[in-house]
């Protein structure tokens, strides 16, 4: 069964090659190619996942003729394969859910461009998940940024262009910091592969030489990733970018793009630097503080938004805050909770964006809360989807958001520091109340019948919307009810990360 070891690379290459191929195809053909690639990558990831579960050991795949520490490598364990599979499925469902809106929002002669970007985004996400080389990680971060920027601006309105420019500016600041951090790390360790780098870093810390450059590099790397994944206070680009894109773009951007960067950060903490060293230079405490601030301020900003698209986008800031809070406490339980939250948030947020577009007919002028009153009666499946997504984000039992909050609370109780535990629990409670204020309020709003029916705009629920919303709801329920195996997979994956 060793041929399965080739599959991660094949999945990356397949999605990468399909990009240029799509550029000469018609929109319709490019769409087919893109769906084929996403489905195939998903199937390949499932095979890889099954293989690593069976062998129980992560494997490294040598790229090119040179062995470590000189060449380039892919490293696949349970966690990587699971995340890749999950990402492929979320991407597929987002594409299906946004199918009609994509066709409506994008001119026919440019539709193939959209699918090129999707293919490139998938390639870069898979590469970020699988790579074992820090510089390769940087290159794919840039590819991810470029394709995400394309997805933001593909609708072509002034607002999208401005959002894309703002996104690019912030992202480029982040990539500059990442690049200099990687250069400094290369300068003090002499390696780019993660394991040899880790060995050098352990020596450096033991001998006490170059500790300042190391601290600076780790700090710059974290700030770079934080800017790119919209951790508070670097979230200024996020609301416009997520709130006004076409349906599939919003769903994919909010659920997957920032998560690819965060996955690289987990690798950086566990595989490159080591959690003990992170703790000794106290980067985790900084992330903890900003994570908590993001949870609260993201939610408070969301409450003030009259536009529901922007409200959901601001709630992403809060959810990213949760993830960083888990990294900030820097215990195994905390990071497992964070990784679970990555999955839960991806499932919930893409459901919310797809449902919102269903409710509003994909038109952002209809996304105002007043106009959405009673919208759930016009598009029932989208209404149910929005309600389930909202309840999951708030943390109602049986849904994904609840389970991840339980894991966060358990991680808090296991903390040795009482003050940190208290801060975390209070932040969880306050943030849940804030989440409930806007999500439950909005759900009630869409289920409030209109007095005068003639003011309502009409929307249509297509089959694609049904398939996507029902599948998203099932995923949310699965993550909420059947979280045990996922938890144990994350645990196994992390222990051999």
């Amino acid at each position: 069964m060793d041929w399965i070891r080739n599959l991660p690379l094949i999945a990356i290459l397949l999605s990468m090659v399909s990009g240029p191929v799509s550029s000469v195809l018609s929109g319709r053909a490019a769409r087919r190619v893109s769906f084929f690639v996403v489905v195939t990558s998903g199937i390949l990831s499932i095979l890889v996942f099954w293989y690593v579960l069976r062998t129980g050991e992560p494997f490294t795949y040598k790229m090119g003729a040179f062995p470590a520490p000189f060449g380039n490598e892919i490293r696949v364990g349970v966690l990587e394969a699971m995340t890749a599979t999950f990402f492929c499925f979320i991407m597929l469902l987002s594409l299906i859910g946004g199918y009609h809106f994509t066709a409506a929002d994008i001119a026919e002669d440019r539709e193939n461009l959209f699918y090129i970007l999707i293919n490139l985004l998938l390639a870069s996400l898979l590469a970020l998940i699988y790579t074992n080389d820090l510089f390769t990680g940087y290159v794919f971060i840039e590819i991810n940024t470029i394709s995400a920027c394309g997805l933001i601006m593909i609708r072509g309105w002034g607002r999208n262009l401005l959002a894309a420019v703002k996104y690019m500016i912030m992202s480029l600041l982040g990539s500059g910091l990442l690049l200099i951090a990687i250069s400094i790390l290369y300068g003090i360790t002499g390696h780019l592969l993660m394991e040899p780098m880790h060995e050098s870093i352990v020596d450096i810390v033991r001998e006490g030489t170059y500790t300042e450059p190391l601290t600076v590099a780790v700090g710059l790397f974290c700030v770079g990733i934080a800017i790119k994944s919209a951790l508070f206070p670097f979230h200024s680009w996020l609301p416009d970018a997520y709130g006004y894109s076409t349906c599939a773009s919003s769903a994919i951007l909010s659920s997957l793009v920032s998560k690819g960067y965060i996955f690289l950060l987990i690798k950086f903490f566990y595989r490159v630097i080591g959690t003990d060293i992170i703790r000794s230079i106290q980067v985790d405490d900084v992330l903890f503080v900003f994570g908590i601030a993001g949870m609260l301020i993201g939610s408070m900003s969301a409450i003030q938004q009259p536009d529901v698209g922007r409200m959901i986008a601001f709630s992403s800031v809060a959810q990213i805050g949760y993830i960083y809070m888990g990294f900030g406490i820097n215990t195994e339980a905390g990071v497992i909770a964070s990784i679970f939250h990555i999955l839960a948030h991806a499932a919930g947020k893409s459901l919310l964006f797809v449902s919102l577009n269903g409710l509003s007919g994909g038109n952002w002028e209809n996304m105002n809360y007043r106009k959405l009153r009673g919208a759930a009666y016009r598009n029932r499946i989208a209404g149910v989807g929005f309600a389930v997504g909202s309840l999951s984000m708030v943390g109602i039992p049986l849904l994904a958001g609840f389970t991840s909050k339980v894991y966060f609370a358990q991680a808090a109780f296991a903390l040795p520091s009482r003050s940190k535990m208290l801060v975390m629990l209070v932040a969880l409670a306050v943030s849940t109340i804030l989440n409930a204020m806007y999500f439950i309020g909005q759900t009630i709003n869409i289920y409030t019948p209109l007095q005068r029916k003639d003011t309502a705009f009409s929307v249509k629920a297509g089959k694609a919307m049904w398939v996507a919303v029902v599948s998203f709801i099932v995923i949310n329920l699965l993550l909420g009810i059947g979280s045990e195996p996922i938890f144990s997979w994350i645990q196994t994956g992390l222990s051999r990360f």
Binding site: F135, Y138, V139, E142, T145, I146, C149, M153, G158, R159, L161, L162, A164, V165, K166, M168, I169, L172, L173, S175, G176, L179, I180, S183, Y186, G187, L192
Partner: protein, 125 residues
């Protein structure tokens, strides 16, 4: 302290340049100046990488006369990283310039604050 700065003058220069570029990308209102800032920032990193890989008195790592003795050449990996970085930076610059052109055609301005105001007005109407 001062000796160290003199000794590592290339690293110092590249960090100063990085700061200049970073500041320009962050603070300038004009989009073209922002893009120039980004390029200064990236170039600073390339200077830093190239200076790290350079060993004085050695040749560029291209074996033209069949001599493969590694002690004759400088470290080739930073040069490779710089080349990769340049490719990334060129493509990002192209994308940013394309976006700037589209915004300019629509709003006849390069000032990002002015464009933001116009977009907000457009939305209100």
């Amino acid at each position: 302290m001062f000796d160290e700065l003199i000794h590592n003058y290339l690293a110092v220069v590249s960090m100063v340049l990085f700061g200049i570029g970073f500041g320009n990308l962050l603070l300038q209102k004009n989009l073209i100046k922002k893009i120039i800032g980004m390029n200064i920032m990236d170039t600073a990193v390339y200077l830093f990488l190239a200076s790290m890989g350079y060993i004085s008195g050695r040749l560029a790592p291209i074996a033209t006369d069949g001599n493969t003795d590694p002690s004759r050449y400088i470290n080739p990996i930073p040069s490779g990283l710089v080349l990769t970085g340049i490719v990334v930076s060129v493509s990002v610059t192209a994308l940013m310039l394309a976006l700037t052109v589209r915004l300019y055609r629509r709003y006849h301005s390069l000032d990002i604050d002015a464009i933001t105001l116009m977009v907000q007005q457009e939305h209100r109407e």
